[in-house]
C-alpha cells in the first residue's frame, strides 16, 4: 500500500503550490470548428460556444466542463494556486476487470492531463481568497476514490486552517468501485471534515453540476451551507437507470433535474452558468459580513 501521510505531518509540510496553466489542459470537446449540441442538435460554431461558457446559445444546455475551464469561469483572471496535484491512486485492491484499474487511470490521465477527478486550489473570487475544489467528470466519471476523498478533505482542512470560505464544485457518478470500501469510507471522511469546517463560522458553498449522484451527493456535496445547482443538472442519490430497473417503470424526463430537486426542497438555488460567479461572490460576501 502507498504511503499514508498522517494529518499532523501534512500540517508541518510546506504547502506546495503549482500554477495551473489551463492552455495545456485538454478540452472535453473535439477540436472541430463546429459542434452539435447534445441536447437540441443545434450546430454551433465552437468559438461561440466557448464565449458562451460552454452553454448552448439556442437551448441553454450546460455542457460538462473540464475542471480548468470551470476554474477560468469562477476565479479572478482564471488564476489559482493548485495544491496536492501529485496525489495519485495506488490501486489498493489490485482491481482487474476487462481493463485493469491501472489502465483506466492511465487512460483518464492521458485524456485529461489530471492525476485524478478533482483539483483543489486557492484562488480569488472578486479579490477575496477562497479555497475551491473542482471535480472533473471526464476522469473515470468523476468518481470518488482515495485521492478525491483525501484532496477534498485536505482542501476543507486548508480552509479551516487559513480561515477561508470554501467552494466545492461537484460532478460525479459516485464512489469509485475499483477501490471498494476505501472509496465508500471517503464519504465519511469528507463529511467529518465538513463537520469541523461548520464550526468555523465560514460559508461553504456547494455547487452541483451535471451530473452529481451517488456517494458524492450522499456526502460533502449535500452538506453545503448553501447548495446551488446549474440548470438541468442531474442531481440525486441513485442514478436514473438503477431506479428504473428497481421500480420497473420509466421515469419522467424532468426527474432528478436541478429544477425538480429545487421543487422538492433539496437545493437552495438553480443558477445559470453566466451568473454563477457573481452569485457565489455575493453569498460569500454576505455570509462573511463583507457586503455593504
Amino acid at each position: 500500500m502507498a504511503q499514508l501521510m498522517p494529518i499532523s505531518e501534512w500540517f508541518q509540510k510546506k504547502e506546495k503550490y503549482v500554477q495551473i496553466t489551463p492552455k495545456t489542459e485538454k478540452r472535453p470537446m473535439p477540436d472541430g470548428i463546429w459542434s452539435k449540441c447534445a441536447e437540441c442538435g443545434e450546430i454551433i460554431y465552437q468559438k461561440e460556444l466557448v464565449k458562451n461558457l460552454w452553454v448552448c446559445p439556442k437551448c441553454d444546455f450546460h455542457y460538462k466542463l473540464a475542471a480548468c475551464d470551470r476554474l477560468n469561469i469562477l476565479l479572478d483572471e482564471g488564476k489559482s494556486d493548485e495544491f496536492d496535484a501529485s496525489l495519485s491512486s495506488a490501486d489498493p485492491l489490485k482491481f482487474e476487470a476487462e481493463k485493469t484499474y491501472i489502465e483506466s487511470l492511465n487512460q483518464s490521465r492521458e485524456k485529461t492531463g489530471l492525476n485524478d477527478a478533482v483539483i483543489t486550489v486557492k484562488g480569488k473570487i472578486d479579490s477575496r481568497n477562497v479555497i475551491m475544489a473542482i471535480m472533473d467528470f471526464r476522469f473515470i466519471g468523476g468518481s470518488m476514490g482515495s485521492v478525491v476523498g483525501e484532496k477534498v478533505t485536505r482542501a476543507v482542512e486548508m480552509a479551516i486552517k487559513n480561515k477561508l470560505p470554501l467552494v466545492i464544485v461537484s460532478s460525479s457518478g459516485g464512489a469509485r468501485m475499483q477501490e471498494g470500501m476505501l472509496s465508500l469510507m471517503q464519504m465519511a471522511k469528507t463529511s467529518a471534515a465538513i463537520a469541523r469546517f461548520k464550526k468555523t463560522g465560514l460559508p461553504y458553498i456547494s455547487v452541483l453540476t451535471n451530473p452529481t449522484t451517488g456517494g458524492v451527493t450522499a456526502s460533502f456535496a449535500s452538506l453545503g451551507d448553501i447548495i446551488i445547482a446549474e440548470p438541468q443538472a442531474l442531481v440525486g442519490f441513485a442514478g436514473p437507470r438503477v431506479i428504473e430497473k428497481t421500480i420497473r417503470q420509466k421515469l419522467p424526463k424532468d426527474f432528478q433535474k436541478a429544477e425538480f430537486m429545487l421543487g422538492y426542497g433539496q437545493i437552495d438555488l438553480v443558477v445559470h452558468r453566466k451568473d454563477l460567479k457573481a452569485t457565489i461572490s455575493k453569498l460569500i460576501n454576505f455570509f462573511t459580513g463583507e457586503l455593504r
Binding site: 498522517p6 465519511a188 451527493t217 450522499a218 452538506l223 442519490f237 431506479i243
Partner: protein, 319 residues
Amino acid sequence: MKKFMMDFEKPVVELETKLEKLKRLPTKEKSGIAKEILLLEKQIDKIHESIYSNLSASEKLQIARHPNRPRTFDYVDFIFTDFIELHGDRVCGDDLALVGGPAFLEGERVMILGHQKGKDTKENVSRNFGMPHPEGYRKALRLMELAEKFNLPLICFIDTPGAYPGIEAEEHGQAAAIAQNLMKMSTLSIPIIILNIGEGGSGGALALGVGDRIFMLENSYYSVITPEGCASILWHDETRASEAAEALKLTADDLLRLEIIDGIIDEPLGGAHRDFELVGGTLKKVLEDNIKELKGVSIDKLLDDRYKRLRKIGAYAEK
C-alpha cells in the same frame, strides 16, 4: 423450519435430508440402523468442515443474505432488556426498514439503531427488504441526538442491501439524509459501536456506520456497490456477480486487512443461523467489553480518535 439451500451446500443438505428420514423411522426399526445414523452424522460433520471452512466471497455473500439469518431484532431480544421501539422521523413517516430505541445492556443504558429485514415475504414487503427511505435515516438522526442528550452509548446494527433507489426516496432527499448522518455521527459526543451482522450495502449501510469501533460477523459483507451492480457495470452481465464479489474485497477478512474494521466476530460453521445463541452471546460480550472501554475515554479524545480513524483511510501515492 423452512429449508433454504445455498448452492454450495447441496452435498450436505442431501445427506441431512437422508439423516432426518432415518431419524423419523419408528424406534423399533431405528435400533437396527443406529450405526448407520452415527456414520451419517460423522460424514455430515466432515463435509460441513470442508465446505464451510474455506468459503469464497460469493459464498459468504449467500450466507449474509440467507433468509434464516438472524436479524437486528433477534439480537435485540437476545442481548438487551427493556427495549422500547421508538417510531417516526417527526416529518412525514415511520420507516420500518430502520428501527431503533433505548434499552438496557445488563446495567447499562444504551440506544440501539439497526436496519431490519423481514422473516418472510409479507414482513419483508412491509420492511422494504431492509432498504431504508430518507424517513428512516432521519429517524436514526433523531434517535442519535436523543442518545447524545441523555449520554447513552449508541449501538448500530448494519444489515441492508442498500438505501432504497426509488422515486419518493429521491424526492424526499435520500442523499442529504445519508450525508447528514455521516456528518452527525462524526461529532456525536457518545461512544458509538457498529456491528455489521449481514449485508453492508454501500451508502445505505454507511449511514449507520461511523463510529469508534466497527465489527463484522465472519460471514457478513460490506461493499461500495452490490456485486450484481458492479458486474452489470463492468461486464453488462449480472450473472458474473461472484467474480465482482472477489474483486471488490468485501469480506470481513479483506476489510480487517484494509484497516477499515477493528475485528471479526466468529460464526458457527455454516453461518450464524446454525447457532444463533452462540453468536448472540459473543456479540453481547463484545458490546459489554467495548462500551466499558470506550466509557473510560474522555469525549475529547474519543472524538479526536474518531476523526483520526477516518482521516487515515485511503491509499494513494504522493510525490
